[in-house]
Symmetry: C2
Subunit: 367 residues, 2 copies
């Protein structure tokens, strides 16, 4: 593991450094891919478990935060039941400091953002235990691919993030369906990772789909359709379209590995242009293993923003060091992109100051 600026290269350091050099000083488009699913409402699976219907509002609220600097579909910012703020706060801070262009793309939403968004014809996801979780996967991928190809023409590179509750469970679903061993390896936004609940949901989904581990190893469309979520189709399509032309930083935690498996199965050639960008909190998480999953899929580098909120003046941010939230809304990838844009002049500490400033403003707190 080497460190460049405040970015850690946690897998394949030489490729990781080459990727960082390629994007150094450059300006990406940041695309936030949002979607909702009933899987996120399974009791105990997502941090928003006590109020399942709130999971329909989190992705659009995250999108509004990035585009308008405040949420429009409700007051304040999305928080966990313990009051820990959405990682969109980190993304928003990084993206605004670097003045990066931001677009929002929908994979399928129950609640639409009060903001412009790219529509790829997707629908909200069903509970994966039905074994029939996502509609129209092939068409959504095709439309997202065209959008990705056109966005690539207009920027040095793309950073693509996600916001979907329950996303690590559906990631486990798709990875399992495609024959990647990920039980006990996917991350969680909660301090105690409910691996058993996720495994049970995935098992139920595979059974309902008449499938077992590895059944859809060469059919990613079917894997996502049965036990995935609508974010994956949109995200994979964007990567497939853009990475033919420019570098793509897939910004997220273990959810990215499921998208990676889908992309590889559809066009492995583009992977030479792909890196995963996450946070130190995912990289150091003992209850998940992003490298252990990626090792089974493709030799892409993993980068991690070396964020540390231990010295924050706000308990809500300090809590990130206790393993809550960890990642989401492209927090790690947007931080990496912003720090790389300024070639080190934007440090993790300056970024934390900006996160604190935005947090205080949005929550009505004193700095």
């Amino acid at each position: 593991m080497t460190k460049i600026f405040d970015v850690l290269t946690i897998r394949n350091p030489s490729k990781g450094e080459a990727f960082l050099e390629q994007i150094s000083g450059k300006t990406p488009i940041f695309v936030l891919t949002i979607a909702t699913s009933e899987t996120g409402k399974i009791a105990g699976i997502s941090a928003a478990g006590k109020m399942p219907e709130i999971t329909d509002y989190t992705p659009p609220a995250d999108a509004e935060l990035l585009l308008f600097g405040k949420c429009k579909c409700f007051n304040g910012v999305p928080v966990t039941p313990d009051g820990i703020p959405t990682p969109a706060l980190i993304s928003m801070s990084a993206l605004r400091l670097a003045d990066f262009p931001v677009l929002v793309a929908s994979g399928g939403l129950r609640v639409k953002p009060h903001a412009p968004f790219l529509d790829f014809g997707g629908s909200p996801g069903r509970d994966i235990r039905t074994g029939n979780a996502v509609d129209n996967v092939k068409e959504v991928i095709e439309r997202a691919k065209v959008a990705g190809a056109h966005l690539a023409k207009t920027s040095d590179y793309l950073v693509i993030g996600e916001s979907i509750p329950g996303g690590t469970t559906t990631a486990l679903g798709v990875l399992s369906a495609m024959g990647v061993k990920a039980e006990g390896k996917v991350s969680s936004s909660m301090p105690i990772n409910p691996h058993d609940l996720k495994i049970k949901a995935v098992q139920a989904g595979l059974t309902a789909a008449g499938a077992v581990f590895g059944s859809f190893a060469s059919d990613p469309i079917k894997a996502v359709s049965c036990v995935g979520d609508p974010m994956m189709a949109a995200f994979a399509g964007l990567v497939l379209g853009a990475a033919e032309q420019v570098p793509v930083l897939m910004a997220g935690g273990t959810q990215m590995t499921a998208v990676l498996a889908v992309v590889k199965a559809l066009n492995a050639d583009v992977l030479c242009n792909v890196a995963i960008g996450t946070t130190r909190w995912v990289a150091k998480d003992c209850s998940s293993d992003i490298c252990g999953i990626v090792d089974q899929i493709a030799d892409v580098p993993i980068l991690a923003a070396n964020l540390n909120f231990g010295n924050s003046r706000f308990d809500g941010l300090k809590a990130y060091e206790q393993g809550v939230v960890k990642e989401g809304v492209g927090a790690g990838g947007s931080s990496i992109a912003a720090m790389t844009k300024f070639e080190g002049a934007l440090t993790k500490d300056l970024l934390l100051s900006e996160v604190e400033r935005n947090y205080a403003t949005l929550m009505g707190l004193k700095l």
Copy 2:
């Protein structure tokens, strides 16, 4: 009037030349703003009059043509009842030759394209004779403005086009509501311009809205809401957001003047970054007067792609010289942008060859 490359400067030549110099060699994003309305279905108003329901399919088909090189929501390409092909064929040819990035934005659609598009929360338009033609205008403008601002961060400049049937009637509506004399001055896609029908529809709309000529001179939101169309809200918002940062070429015919009036009323400061880009067919049209309308609004330059299809080997294209179609789908603006990108190396004749090639391919004809 001067001529640079194969572009005519038909209003304010010095500003027009300065604009061309500014965009010379540069790469824009092309945004096609599509919408549908019941106004386009009034008998005799639009070229698609005999089959009004087809007007719901034309804008999405145009969008598909630009993004996929073929229509997906029906076979072939949109044509007038006489078989004259959509001007999207010109835009597609210019955009592909120059390899420009293309995005589609919806103002409000009855039929969605089988293609990615930006959603601003708009709805299809009603018949302006109701005096209550468009919902949610303010919100759509705000969302489009944010999108325009972010797109401006990622490109040298923007070219924005439109596709909406019945658009010159709603243009007359908004211009009249805002106190701009446009009766007999708006263009038509038909050889014989049905001015009387348009004037009658606008009069009925204004009366139904309890308004007269000039009632909404300082309330563009109300003007569009009562007697406009949903394309205008999306288009105006994009201009307002983008032109604060980069040049914007408003690609269209007399419809652009209504958008110009809306933009001016909301933020006249951005107009220094704005030009209208149209075709020679609009510029030389005796049955309309784009300069005469713009003269009443703002001192922006008007450029015209010096296209001439008189020597085409295809009757469907030759017909453009008889005054059918004339403009639409940003045909003029995208031609100007492509010719300017190549600083003259792409001539109008090379462009016609490419249009012919694409026309032959799509219609199954021999070159």
